[in-house]
Structure formats: structure tokens, C-alpha cells
């Protein structure tokens, strides 16, 4: 959303470019107003995110257990050593990556199918659109309870279909259930983002290709996909980062039992069950680094299509 090039209609257009010592009265007033308007938002965001992150870095260098406050001590990077050499961390990371990769990949495919239905269906479009938004809007915890009860042996419709199985007590099956719950919840959002991209694909191009004898699949891979690349990458980035911090579904479905905990669950457990602020903060910082790496890789992949760079230059 770099809007620096937007010409401001209401302001004196002859305002000198920044860097020049002399700013006109109007430009200076505009600057002042700009700063005043963004100040509250910036102050809140810094106070509630930037400061705590710095504080978390500091906490992560301390031995600090709420149960043993007198043992509080600066210990440098020892917490990082403890976490990075712990199988719990690597297992949680592995579970998180598995859930993220599978749920995002499947959501992308299903999101495409749903976007096509929403885009092309001949009748009942309003009804389908409205209904398909419900999983997006529903409280994740409420949906998670629905899945949990559906898979409870003897009580749930899904469990009874699958011979009264109890998948939530088995690591592999529980992760599958968690992934299903994630997919159900997030496919509508994915579909909406893709739909917005889909509506940017010119109809004429499709028709021309059809006249030239391209099959539906060819038109999809040769026209739709390339034109939708920016939309797809944005949707994937949002979904990946969102999925990487998965917490609610796992908390309700398994509480992280049987090796189904994500990194967020691990961080939560270390804070609220072990009351270990030092280790908890270390895990927080490591998760933050993981997310930064994911975002960096995506934005490198984006090139100029990164969110924010293209908007406003219309």
C-alpha cells in the first residue's frame, strides 16, 4: 500500500518534494495533520506489540519461573539451548509444519473449487455465497466442539459412520481431524480471496482461448493461473501464517495430548502450566523467528506483487 505517489487532490500540488529545506505552509500543515492522525494508532501498536516483543527477548534471557521467583537470574542464551535441544520443541514444530502444509495445500485446492462454484454457478448464487461464509464467521471454538463431539465414539455421527472409531485418541488420526477442522473453517476465506482474483481475469481472454480450441484445463493453467498469481500468493501467505499459529482447534480437540500439540500449544503450556516465563518467552521468540522466515520467503517469492506494493498505483 505504498501511496507515496498518489497525488493529493486537496493539497497544494506544488508542494516541494521531501528533502528540500523549505516546505510550504500547506504542506507542513498536511504533514502535521498526517502525524496527528496516525499517532494514536501507531502508539497503540507499538505499546502493545513492539514493546512486549522487546520485553520477551529480555525475558527469554532469564531463568524466570513464577513458581520459583527467588531463582530469577540472567542466564544468557541458556534457555535457547534448552528449547532447541528439547525433543518437545522439534516435535511441536514438526506437528505445526505438517498441519500447516496439508491444511493450506488442501484449502487452496478446495478454495479454488469453491471460488469456481461461487463465480460460475448459474442459480442460487446468493444462497451459496451466504452459506459458505458461515464457516468463516463461526467461532473457531464452537466449530471445534462440533468436530470433537462428532468424533466422540458412541455419540458422534462421524465416529458412528467410521465404526465407532475414536480418532482423537490416536496421534495420526487426531492430526487428520485437526487438519479437517482447519480446512472446513478456512476454505471460505481462501475462496473469497481467490474469487477476487478470479474476477480480474478478463472474460474475453477465456472466450478467445475457447474459440482457439483450448480445453477447460488448458484455459485454467495457461490463462487463469498466471493471471491470478498475485492473488494466490497473497492468499497463501495469509493462510500459511494463520495456520502456523494454530491454537484453538488443537486446544479444544485434543489439548495437545498424544503428541498433537503445535508450537503455540507448547508455548501456552510452558507459560500457564509450567509457569516458566523464561522458557515460554524463548518459545515465543522462536515462533516469531519462524514466522519471519516464512514471511520473508513468501515476499521474496512475490517479487513486486507483495501485498502493499501494488495497491494505490492504479
Amino acid at each position: 500500500m505504498s501511496t507515496t505517489e498518489t497525488v493529493t487532490a486537496g493539497a497544494p500540488a506544488e508542494a516541494p518534494p521531501k528533502g528540500k529545506p523549505q516546505l510550504s505552509e500547506g504542506a507542513r500543515a498536511e504533514r502535521r495533520l498526517g502525524f496527528m492522525l496516525i499517532a494514536p494508532a501507531v502508539i497503540v501498536m507499538i505499546a502493545v506489540t513492539a514493546y512486549p516483543v522487546v520485553y520477551a527477548i529480555y525475558l527469554s534471557l532469564e531463568r524466570y519461573n513464577l513458581a520459583l521467583p527467588q531463582a530469577k537470574k540472567f542466564i544468557g542464551f541458556a534457555n535457547y539451548g534448552a528449547v532447541l535441544s528439547s525433543p518437545y520443541w522439534w516435535h511441536a514444530l514438526y506437528v505445526t509444519v505438517v498441519i500447516t502444509v496439508f491444511s493450506v495445500a488442501i484449502t487452496l485446492v478446495l478454495g479454488f473449487l469453491l471460488a469456481f462454484v461461487l463465480h460460475r454457478t448459474i442459480f442460487g448464487r446468493g444462497l451459496v455465497r451466504t452459506t459458505s461464509l458461515i464457516p468463516y464467521g463461526i467461532v473457531t471454538v464452537a466449530a471445534a466442539y462440533s468436530w470433537q463431539y462428532a468424533w466422540t465414539p458412541g455419540q458422534g455421527y462421524l465416529s458412528s459412520i467410521f465404526n465407532n472409531s475414536a480418532p482423537l485418541t490416536n496421534q495420526f488420526q487426531a492430526i487428520v481431524v485437526i487438519i479437517i477442522a482447519e480446512i472446513w473453517k478456512t476454505t471460505p476465506f481462501m475462496a473469497l480471496l481467490l474469487l477476487a482474483g478470479l474476477s480480474l481475469v478478463p472474460e474475453d481472454l477465456q472466450k478467445a482461448a475457447k474459440v482457439d480450441g483450448a480445453t477447460g484445463w488448458q484455459r485454467f493453467t495457461k490463462i487463469t493461473l498466471p493471471l491470478m498469481k498475485p492473488a494466490i500468493l497473497v492468499a497463501l501467505l495469509f493462510r500459511t501464517l494463520d495456520s502456523f499459529r494454530i491454537f484453538d482447534n488443537i486446544y479444544i480437540l485434543t489439548l495437545g495430548a498424544n503428541g498433537t500439540g503445535s508450537v503455540s500449544i507448547l508455548g501456552y503450556d510452558n507459560l500457564f502450566n509450567a509457569l516458566n516465563l523464561g522458557i515460554g518467552s524463548t518459545i515465543s521468540i522462536l515462533i516469531f523467528i519462524c514466522v519471519a522466515i516464512i514471511a520473508f520467503l513468501f515476499i521474496k517469492g512475490f517479487g513486486t506483487a507483495a501485498p502493499g506494493t501494488d495497491i494505490g498505483k492504479r
Partner: protein, 277 residues
């Protein structure tokens, strides 16, 4: 449009049906559970063998649910109003004014929007305890506003760019200050965008679970999604499936209403900031 063949018609009808069924079955399952008596819960069929309103009357007369529900509504509305006001101001500046550091603001919002919440839970928990904000409404409102802001700035600046700004110029010619032009001319035009943003921010607050269980310890500030796990059944040996399902349905109803009334706006809001070719 080309004529629709019967085959196409059946195909799309099937597709529509599949989409609607997949979207609704888990919701209908919750509705069904919420009407089941404790014995009927043990039956996996979708139609309750014995119907009861007991789960609803139970939770709606229990302070264990009513208080958290009130917290959810109150905290959600206050957070939404603050976030939308602050985001409108910032988005107006981003969309309309020239000042240095704009890119920084956008970058920061984007970073926060993608932030792993759990990374903030530990330090914020410590800070909130030190400041006496733990287990209070402001203890949740402040982080909710923070995470509503990036969403708000993003969506609102997209909306603000669509506004006919000649009107602002006209107001200025008539002697209005930039601030007056904003309040009197632009804000009313921006109202639809602000409503949309408000809905999205409210849904995010309403949906939150991690912060709600982390920063509360009693029902004085706990929100509805966080309170459900503390429900108890009729006896120690009964799992409170019915009451939890009823509570889940109750907190889902506002969403369904929002979606029914504001479907177009929600879609516009969700996609405005994200995809522009």
C-alpha cells in the same frame, strides 16, 4: 449467456448442494446436540430422540454463561469502536495526505497482522499482571484494538481511495479546514467502509480464544468462547455436551445474522485490502 442445458443445470445444482451441505452439517450437528437431553446425547443420530429446551434454559440462567456472554458483547463492541475510530484516522492519512513514514506505518500494520499471537501472550501476561490489567475488560480490549488496527487500516484505506475527493476540495474552497472536511464531508461517505471494517473487527474479537483464556481467570472478564470449557454437566460424571453445544449455538447466532445481512460488505471488506491487481 448461452442456453443452459439440463445437464449443466443438474451439475451446478449438485455443486451448490455439496457446498451448502458441507458448510452447514457441522453447524446443524451443534444445533441438534443443543436440543438433545443428556440421554439422547448418547445417540449419534442427527434428529434428537428426545427434545429439550433444557440446555438453553440452563445456560441462559447461569451466570457462568450470561456473564461471559455480556463480557464478549461489551469487550467486542468497545474494542471495535476504538479500533475503527483510530484506524479511520490513520487510513485517511494514508489514503489522502502526504507525510513521511507512510511506508513504515503500512509495514508495521502488515507485520502485526501476521504476528504469531502466542509470541505476545507471555510478555503481555507479565505486563498486564504488573499493571493490574490482568482479568479486566481493558486487559482484553487493549490487545483486541491493537490487532483490529492493521485490519482496519488496510480495509479502510482501500475504501477511502474510492471516495470522490472532489467533494473534499469543494469543502475546502468553502473554507473548511482539513479536519472539518474530514468530519463533515468524508466521514459520512466513508460510513459504509467503516461499518464493514467494524463487522470484521468485531468478528475477530468475538472469535478470539487464545488471548481470552490467557488474560482472564474468572468470569468477571472471561469471554464466552473461553468460558465454555468450564461448564459442568448435571453431575460430576456427565460431560456437559448439551450445554456446551447450546452455548456454541448462541455465540454462533450473531455471526449468522451478520453474514445474512452484510454478506456483500463482508466479502468486499475481506478482499479489498488483499487483492488488487
Amino acid at each position: 449467456m448461452a442456453a443452459i442445458t439440463p445437464r449443466q443445470r443438474t451439475g451446478w445444482a449438485t455443486a451448490n448442494f455439496v457446498v451448502i451441505a458441507l458448510a452447514l452439517i457441522p453447524v446443524l450437528w451443534l444445533v441438534s446436540l443443543s436440543f438433545k437431553t443428556p440421554t439422547a446425547v448418547l445417540d449419534p443420530s442427527f434428529i434428537p430422540a428426545q427434545w429439550t429446551w433444557g440446555n438453553y434454559s440452563g445456560i441462559l440462567t447461569s451466570s457462568q454463561f450470561i456473564r461471559p456472554l455480556a463480557n464478549s458483547i461489551g469487550i467486542g463492541i468497545i474494542s471495535t469502536v476504538i479500533a475503527v475510530v483510530l484506524a479511520s484516522m490513520a487510513a485517511y492519512a494514508v489514503a489522502r495526505l502526504r507525510f513521511p513514514g507512510k511506508g513504515l506505518l503500512i509495514g508495521m500494520s502488515l507485520l502485526i497482522a501476521m504476528f504469531p499471537l502466542i509470541a505476545l501472550v507471555t510478555p503481555l501476561f507479565t505486563i498486564e499482571r504488573a499493571l493490574g490489567l490482568f482479568n479486566t475488560w481493558p486487559g482484553l480490549i487493549i490487545p483486541y484494538v491493537t490487532f483490529g488496527l492493521p485490519l482496519g487500516i488496510y480495509t479502510l484505506s482501500a475504501f477511502f481511495r474510492e471516495i470522490p475527493w472532489e467533494l473534499e476540495k469543494a469543502a475546502k474552497v468553502d473554507g473548511a479546514s482539513p479536519f472539518q472536511a474530514f468530519v463533515k464531508v468524508i466521514a459520512p461517505l466513508a460510513a459504509p467502509g467503516m461499518v464493514t471494517t467494524g463487522i470484521l473487527v468485531f468478528l475477530a474479537c468475538w472469535n478470539d480464544f487464545l488471548l481470552a483464556i490467557s488474560f482472564t481467570s474468572t468470569i468477571s472478564a472471561r469471554t464466552a468462547p473461553a468460558a465454555m470449557q468450564y461448564f459442568s454437566g448435571g453431575s460430576v460424571f456427565t460431560i456437559p455436551t448439551g450445554p456446551i453445544a447450546a452455548a456454541a449455538v448462541v455465540i454462533t447466532i450473531p455471526i449468522v445474522i451478520f453474514v445474512l445481512f452484510f454478506q456483500r460488505r463482508i466479502v468486499a471488506g475481506l478482499t479489498s485490502g488483499a487483492v488488487k491487481g
